[in-house]
């Protein structure tokens, strides 16, 4: 079940981290927007992303008793801040807004949407020139919106994780644009999306 998927993906990520990065570690070419060392060589980098996500959870959306029209392709926006220390491993946080899926009822008038606000601790490493991988873990604050016989909103926290890979094209010394492929999994409730985003990358503070 989903436990296996977590292990598969986390394992692949760890291996990707380790194998590809072992090459990157030897050269500074793996660094995103390398710049002259300032002070300790630390920096803060913001990533603002927007795109689309597709619901991929093996748990499915609804059970067969409900006749529904499900929309699995939905907008995905995220915001991330990473601390770039003097080694290749980076640390940061990410939040955003994920719409996992929505559906309407076929036999009557009714609509349900399942959304989530992630709050994740993340680690990132450049694995090749301009290529980065990210993994993170934390909480997804889920919100169910129901419009059937009245409007009802309810929330629930779900532990989860994420993994992502991005390619960054530098624009200026501190600014870049990136494309990011992202897997976000509120694993405790078995809800996951695969997203593709366009990303603005801004190294906004150095010391």
């Amino acid at each position: 079940m989903y436990g296996n998927k977590i292990k598969y993906i986390s394992l692949l990520l760890v291996l990707a981290f380790a194998t590809a990065q072992s090459k990157a570690q030897r050269k500074s070419g793996g660094e995103f927007m390398p710049s002259k060392k300032v002070g300790k060589g630390y920096a803060l980098v913001a990533y603002a992303s927007g795109g689309l996500s597709y619901y991929v959870s093996g748990g499915g959306t609804t059970t067969t008793f409900l006749k529904t029209n499900v929309t699995k392709l939905n907008p995905l926006t995220t915001l991330r801040v990473m601390w770039h220390p003097d080694h290749l491993l980076r640390l940061g946080v990410e939040t955003g807004y994920v719409t996992f899926y929505t559906y309407t009822l076929q036999d009557t008038v009714g609509k349900v949407s399942l959304n989530g606000i992630p709050l994740l601790i993340e680690w990132n490493m450049p694995v090749a020139k301009r290529f980065n991988v990210f993994v993170g873990t934390g909480v997804y604050f889920l919100k169910s919106n129901l419009d059937y016989g009245g409007k009802t909103s309810s929330s629930k926290a779900s532990l989860g994780w994420m993994a992502a890979a991005s390619y960054t094209q530098p624009l200026t010394k501190n600014l870049g644009v990136a494309a990011e492929l992202k897997y976000m999994d509120a694993s405790e409730t078995v809800n996951a999306v695969m997203g593709l985003q366009v990303q603005l990358v801004w190294k906004f503070f150095r010391w």
Partner: protein, 246 residues
């Protein structure tokens, strides 16, 4: 039940065989190459006399066990290693959630197999204890666990260390009391197994980070002692391990 230990030994044997047959080079007996990266999980003979890390272990409990008492409190994880001899060291850990805590200690024998690969075998004995107060009555529980383990390490370069670890989980004792009245003491010796994959590498300055994932399959997870769960099922407990190597 008792089928689990042979299974674990078989798995361990397969791993060991695949390693040794794959690597014709024999371990160097006298000179152990220096390893530059900091680590606490990576199976390698120690150079320094002491090593330590501090971090947390986050577990999500299965709701079939915890139901509405579902909590997700990380345990503080303090890990310390003490060199004993060229290939021997002691591995000690403290996992603390204040109301329930576990201390473990055990010897490790570690050796490089070749330039990249190394291995360690060990056996940890752990003591856990916890307290909860319900309606003015204090319930306390405690027990002993034993975990024979094997770790395989791979150095991607001098800075990136990957460890794969397998453990057999043996539940030596479990006792719980309300006041002085015993309320539980049943347990099964071979309670499951655990498999970990751990990455250790530099984070900032001279500090390194441990990032790990441990898949625990057991019919008794010490943090659920107060639920007095009776299932004989190897239930899955995923653990995320994060530590800063000091």
């Amino acid at each position: 039940m008792t089928k689990r230990l042979p299974l674990f030994l078989l798995q361990t044997f397969i791993v060991a065989c695949s390693l040794f047959s794959a690597n014709a080079q024999q371990p160097t007996t006298d000179v152990i190459p220096r390893i530059y990266a900091k680590s606490v999980f990576f199976p390698y003979p120690m150079e320094k006399h002491w090593k330590s890390s501090i971090g947390f272990v986050l577990t999500t409990m299965p709701q079939e066990i915890t139901e509405e008492q579902h909590y997700r409190i990380p345990a503080i994880d303090f890990h310390v290693l003490k060199k004993v001899s060229k290939r021997w060291y002691i591995d000690g850990r403290v996992n603390a959630q204040i109301v329930q805590n576990m201390l473990s200690i055990g010897p490790r024998w570690a050796t490089p197999i070749n330039k990249k690969l190394s291995i360690a075998v060990g056996d940890d004995i752990a003591c856990w204890f916890g307290f909860i107060t319900t309606e003015g009555f204090k319930t306390r529980g405690g027990g002993w666990l034993n975990t024979p383990n094997i770790s395989l390490g791979y150095q991607f370069n001098n800075k990136i260390l990957l460890t794969i670890k397998g453990e057999a989980l043996m539940n030596l004792s479990f006792k719980a009391y309300t006041g002085e009245t015993p309320v539980a003491n049943t347990h099964r010796l071979f309670s499951g197994s655990a498999f970990s994959i751990i990455l250790e590498q530099p984070l900032y300055s001279h500090h390194s980070l441990t990032l790990g994932f441990r898949a625990v399959y057991t019919d008794f997870y010490w943090q659920t002692w107060a639920l007095f769960e009776t299932f004989q099922r190897n239930i899955y407990y995923p653990e995320v391990i994060v530590g800063l190597i000091l």
